[in-house]
Every structure is written in structure tokens, then in C-alpha cells.
């Protein structure tokens, strides 16, 4: 069963084609990586799928729902973490989670428990009442992720979740992603870090708005005859 299906999905801004007729599928429970350089169109693609941008043409279904006609249903079933970790800096950790939890209609009593559990897992429970502005970047990230999955969505979109933090924090973050995936959540993550591709079940490499390569990391490495995804990319670009 496909969590996500995209068919000829296209986005144009005036004359500029940011996403050019992409087609791909993501299976349930998969971790799918959207790789590519900055400006390749990854963020635009993910925004279309999460309902933040209207496609110029093409279709997609998310969790079985059509993105053009059933966006409200889609929204109930997805989580999203934006590139800017857009949580409210002048609210506390707890308040941020409570806000979004309430919007997603998690019942009140359960909400509090869930938040505290989540924070404990992240080892952030001591910071529950700290303003988000005051916590370090790595923690903000984790918080944003936790908020995105608080309502236990089937699908989570992560847009460059690890940009700007050191490798240790990045690895820790991926542990979180694995944890979520192990519970059956489908995860679509964009990144420009090629080494993170190894963490994904399948990946696609985008360039100039198009999907140029798609497959498991192993497949692509074999295809290109190289050892790392980074080399895959380099070789591909040289072509």
C-alpha cells in the first residue's frame, strides 16, 4: 500500500519550473530520502505534498487522499517539520506542544501525558517550561520533530531537519526518525547531506526540478559503480 504517490507533479513560478513532472511512490513505513543540492526543488516538492503549495499540474495522493480535493483529510494524517523549525520562540516547550496537540484534537488529559512522555524520551522534560528561544538549536530540532509526530500521524514530512547542527546531533536525530519509523510511520525527508542517504530505505536524487535517480541506496551505488551516495551524486553531476 502506497503512502504517497506522485504523478507528474509540477510547480511553476512564472517562467521558472521548480518541480518538473516528478513521479514517485513511497511505501507505508518507509523512510524515503529526497536528496539534491540546494535549489533542486526538494522543498517545493515537499510543500506541495504537505498542502502548503498548490501544484501547477500533476496529481498526488497522500495516505490515499487526493492533494487537490481532499487536503483537509490529508492534514489530519500528516506531520510536518519545516526547514526553519518554526515553533513559537516566545512560548515554552510545553506550550508549543500543547498548542499543536490541541489543534490536532488530542484529548486534554491524554495530551499532557503524551507531551511529558515525549519530552522524557528526548531528555528534555526539565526544559518543559523554558522558552523555545532559549534552548539550543539541536534541541529545537528535536522539539520540532516531537511536535510533528505528537498526534501520531501516518506520514511525516521533514524538510532539511538536520541542517545547521553538528554530526553528533544529526545522528541522534536519525535515531528519533528510526524510532518513529519502527512504529510504522512513513517518513519523507529532504536533505542535502549525502551521507544521510544511507539511513533511508529508498532515496531519490533531484536536480533542476526533476528526479534523476530513484532507488535504494544499494541499487544506486551499484548503478553508478561507486561506494558512497556522495560519489553517486558527484558522478551524476559530472555527466
Amino acid at each position: 500500500m502506497n503512502s504517497i504517490e506522485a504523478n507528474q507533479l509540477t510547480k511553476k513560478f512564472g517562467d521558472f519550473t521548480a518541480v518538473d513532472h516528478i513521479c514517485f511512490e513511497v511505501r507505508e513505513g518507509e523512510i524515503f530520502g529526497f536528496l539534491g543540492a540546494n535549489g533542486a526543488g526538494k522543498t517545493t516538492a515537499i510543500k506541495m505534498m504537505s498542502g502548503l503549495l498548490l501544484p501547477t499540474s500533476g496529481t498526488a495522493t497522500i495516505a490515499g487522499y487526493d492533494i487537490l480535493t481532499q487536503s483537509k483529510l490529508i492534514k489530519r494524517n500528516i506531520g510536518y517539520m519545516s526547514q526553519k523549525f518554526s515553533l513559537y520562540g516566545d512560548l515554552t516547550v510545553f506550550e508549543n506542544m500543547q498548542l499543536f496537540g490541541t489543534i490536532y484534537k488530542i484529548p486534554r488529559k491524554e495530551l499532557k501525558e503524551r507531551i511529558m512522555d515525549s519530552l522524557r524520551e528526548l531528555e528534555m522534560d526539565a526544559q518543559a517550561n523554558t522558552l523555545v528561544d532559549s534552548i539550543p538549536l539541536g534541541w529545537k530540532q528535536k522539539l520540532a520533530f516531537a511536535t510533528a509526530i505528537l498526534h501520531r500521524p501516518k506520514i511525516v514530512f521533514l524538510d532539511e531537519p538536520t541542517s545547521g547542527v553538528d554530526p553528533i546531533v544529526r545522528r541522534e536525530f536519525w535515531k528519533l526518525i528510526y524510532q518513529a519509523a519502527s512504529k510504522g510511520v512513513t517518513i519523507l525527508v529532504t536533505t542535502h547531506y549525502m551521507d544521510e542517504a544511507e539511513y533511508c530505505n529508498r532515496i531519490s536524487i533531484m536536480a533542476e526540478g526533476q528526479i534523476k535517480l530513484i532507488g535504494t541506496p544499494e541499487e544506486l551505488k551499484k548503478q553508478m559503480g561507486v561506494d558512497t551516495i556522495n560519489d553517486v551524486f558527484v558522478k551524476f553531476v559530472k555527466r
Partner: protein, 412 residues
């Protein structure tokens, strides 16, 4: 709905954690109430006047002296030359100049034409108009007293009277110091055709609807309006656009939240804040300025509530269509200035050309200011403000519908 409640809670938390915003919400009203009433005053209180006396007679001295007893005129003394006067006027040291020609007194007594020249700095034409008006009044008043004391009819009547009284040759009036009148009882026949007296019309002013005769009463309701408008429109516009710019709005847009829930969640807190400011304003008005609401308080609050909705809706609408904070701020500011200056708070609407009046039909502030004045100062009933209420309600509906419709979670 829980969603809306939590959104309201969020906004309040954010407001109270923003020290600058808070201080503006609290300090601004106080500052406005303290400063506005004392500054916003068109009344001319001081007129600097100087004189050139080419006559140096008793009469010219008397006339000059009579200006000293006026509250408004500040005499800058006698000047020696026109050039001096021109310089002073150019540098705003004097507002008015009164020049007596030589042989002024002589001409008066001989009933020959003579002219007093008044020059005014007319850059502020109202000030000049008032100033020259007062000058003419003071001089005219003096002249009239002079004329009535010197008409032959008076003289003849007086002399006749004296003649009939005791046949004394006493001088008939104390006024002419040093003036020697004929002591002879030259009796003039009472039937002499006498030159008629000039008339003088007095104007007495009565002020209604303002027990204290205070300028403050004009401006204070205006301040209330400005306060409420600022909070309604300006703060909300910035608020929404800021979320757009820093990106928190994305996080909200991906949720299944409905547009109207989101907007309500933003509007209600600011609406409450606006009403609170209004309430505080009314209290300050009462206890600091002694102005109480003459009309119905619930009616006033009700219409304020509607007006706030208009302003909030406007703020949101503008934010929905702006790309960044700078733009929305400019647009809001532009509208705000236009609204304020056209509304009649500072300058009278009566003087505006027809097309400006038409624009004012789109200006919520002009309607609201009318309501405020009528209810607070005149104690008007609902009928007199019905028109304004309907207009504001219609505006509220239109603009808020527009705001909801124009808000897009998904950009094109």
C-alpha cells in the same frame, strides 16, 4: 472550541511576554492622554503685536494702551521704522503691526479721513484673521466710544442740559484731559440735524454640551478612537505578517485547522485587548478629565465592539495580502493616516471638498468618531447613531469575510 481557546491563550502569552508591546499598550494611552489634550489646540492664545506711532498723541497712546489689558495680545512695544518691523515679522517675533499715521488725532477731531494700517503675518491665515479681527474690535471699540463722546448731538444735548441746569460753564466731560472745550454756553438749537451714530453689534457666545469649556473635551474622544484603532488595525496586521515572515504560520497551515478558527483565534485576543484599552480610556477620561459618558454606556461599548471588528478585519486583510512586514506596515500606516486626518479628529470635515466627503463614506473612523462624540458628549440616543451603527456593521461583515476568504493556507 478548544482550538480557538488555545489559540487565544497563545496570543495572550505572546503579548504578555513582549515587554515592548506591553509597554506600548499601557504607556501609549497614558502618553496620548497626557500630551494630546495639551497640544491639540487650535486656539490662538498668544498674539505678538507691535506698534509704530507716527502721531504720538494722546489718542494713539490710549489706543496702544488698550491693548495691554487684553489677554491675548503681548505687546512688543513701539518700533521706530517699517524696516525694523519687517525684520521682526520675518523672524516671527511679531504677528501683527499697527501703524498710526502722523496727525492722526488732529484728523479725527477735524473729522477728516485718516487711516490706521494693520499688517499681519498671514502664513497662518486663521491666526491672522483672528488677530486682525481682534485688533479691529479693540480699535473700533475705542473709536466708537470716541465718536459717541464727540458727536455734536451729544454735545448739544449736554450743553443744552447744562445750560438748562444751572447755566454753568463747566466743561461737560472728564474724558478730554487737557482738552479745552468751549465753556461758553453756546447753545445750539436742539433741532440740528445730527450725524447718526455708528451701530455696534455684540456677540455673546453660549457653549452647549461641554460643561467645562475645555478643549480637552474635543480631543479626548479622538484619542480614544485613535487608541482603539491603533490596537485594532496596526498591531494585528503586524502580528500576522510577522508569523508569515518568520515561518511559524507554516506550522499552523499544515494542520487541519480551519481558516475561520485561525482568524478567530487571532481576532478575539486583540479584540479583548482593544476593548480593555477602550475601557481604560473611559476610566482615565472620567477620573483625569472629568468627562463622563452622557449617553448610554452599553450602546457605546456595543458600537465600539463593532468598530474594533472592522479594524481587526482590516488588519488581517492587509496582512493576508502583504508579503512582508514592511509592506503591511506601510499599507496600514498609509490607511491609518488617511483615516485619521480625514475623520475630523484634528481638522474639521466641514471644510473638505465633496470628493473627500465621498471617500469618508469608506472611512470607518469618521463614522466612529461621530458616534463617540454624540454618545459621550451630547448624550444622543440610539436613533441618532443608528446610521453609523449600520454602516459600521456592514463594514465589519464585508471586511471580515474578505479576510477569511483571502487567507490562504496554500500559496499559489
Amino acid at each position: 472550541m478548544r482550538t480557538i481557546l488555545i489559540l487565544i491563550k497563545k496570543e495572550f502569552l505572546q503579548v504578555f511576554r513582549n515587554p515592548l508591546l506591553l509597554s506600548i499598550l499601557v504607556v501609549a494611552p497614558m502618553v496620548e492622554f497626557m500630551i494630546f489634550p495639551f497640544c491639540a489646540d487650535y486656539e490662538i492664545k498668544v498674539l505678538n503685536i507691535a506698534f509704530i506711532d507716527n502721531d504720538r498723541s494722546q489718542i494713539s497712546k490710549d489706543i496702544i494702551h488698550s491693548f495691554n489689558s487684553s489677554d491675548i495680545f503681548v505687546s512688543k512695544g513701539l518700533l521706530t521704522s517699517k524696516k525694523d518691523a519687517d525684520e521682526k515679522m520675518k523672524h516671527d517675533k511679531i504677528d501683527l503691526l499697527v501703524e498710526f499715521p502722523s496727525h492722526f488725532e488732529e484728523a479725527l477731531y477735524k473729522n477728516e479721513p485718516t487711516v490706521i494700517a494693520v499688517t499681519a503675518n498671514a502664513i497662518n491665515s486663521v491666526k491672522a484673521g483672528i488677530g486682525t479681527g481682534y485688533v479691529q474690535e479693540i480699535i473700533g471699540g475705542y473709536m466708537q466710544d470716541f465718536a459717541s463722546a464727540h458727536t455734536p448731538s451729544n454735545m448739544s444735548a449736554a450743553i443744552a442740559q447744562q445750560a438748562s441746569m444751572q447755566g454753568n460753564n463747566a466743561s461737560f466731560s472728564q474724558r478730554e484731559d487737557g482738552e479745552r472745550r468751549s465753556n461758553s454756553a453756546t447753545v445750539m438749537p436742539p433741532q440740528t440735524i445730527t450725524p447718526p451714530m455708528p451701530i455696534r453689534i455684540n456677540i455673546s457666545n453660549i457653549y452647549w454640551y461641554n460643561e467645562q469649556m475645555n478643549y480637552k473635551n474635543l480631543i479626548v474622544p479622538g484619542i480614544l478612537v485613535i487608541l482603539v484603532t491603533l490596537i485594532g488595525c496596526y498591531v494585528t496586521a503586524l502580528n500576522l505578517v510577522r508569523e508569515k515572515e518568520i515561518g511559524t504560520i507554516e506550522q499552523v497551515n499544515v494542520t487541519p485547522i480551519r481558516r475561520w478558527q485561525f482568524l478567530l483565534g487571532k481576532m478575539i485576543p486583540f479584540w479583548l485587548l482593544g476593548m480593555a484599552e477602550f475601557g481604560a480610556g473611559l476610566i482615565i477620561m472620567k477620573f483625569v478629565f472629568g468627562i463622563s459618558v452622557q449617553g448610554s454606556l452599553p450602546l457605546l461599548l456595543g458600537i465600539t465592539a463593532i468598530y474594533l471588528l472592522v479594524m481587526l478585519g482590516l488588519g488581517f486583510f492587509i496582512s493576508s495580502v502583504s508579503e512582508n512586514q514592511l509592506q503591511s506596515m506601510f499599507i496600514v500606516l498609509f490607511l491609518f493616516i488617511v483615516f485619521v486626518l480625514l475623520s475630523g479628529v484634528f481638522t474639521p470635515t466641514e471644510g473638505m471638498p465633496g470628493w473627500a466627503h465621498k471617500i469618508n463614506y469608506l472611512n470607518p473612523m469618521s463614522f466612529y468618531i461621530e458616534v463617540i462624540k454624540k454618545i459621550i458628549l451630547k448624550g444622543s440616543e440610539f436613533e441618532s447613531v443608528m446610521r453609523e451603527t449600520i454602516v459600521l456593521s456592514v463594514m465589519a461583515v464585508i471586511i471580515n469575510t474578505g479576510a477569511v476568504l483571502s487567507y490562504r493556507e496554500a500559496s499559489k
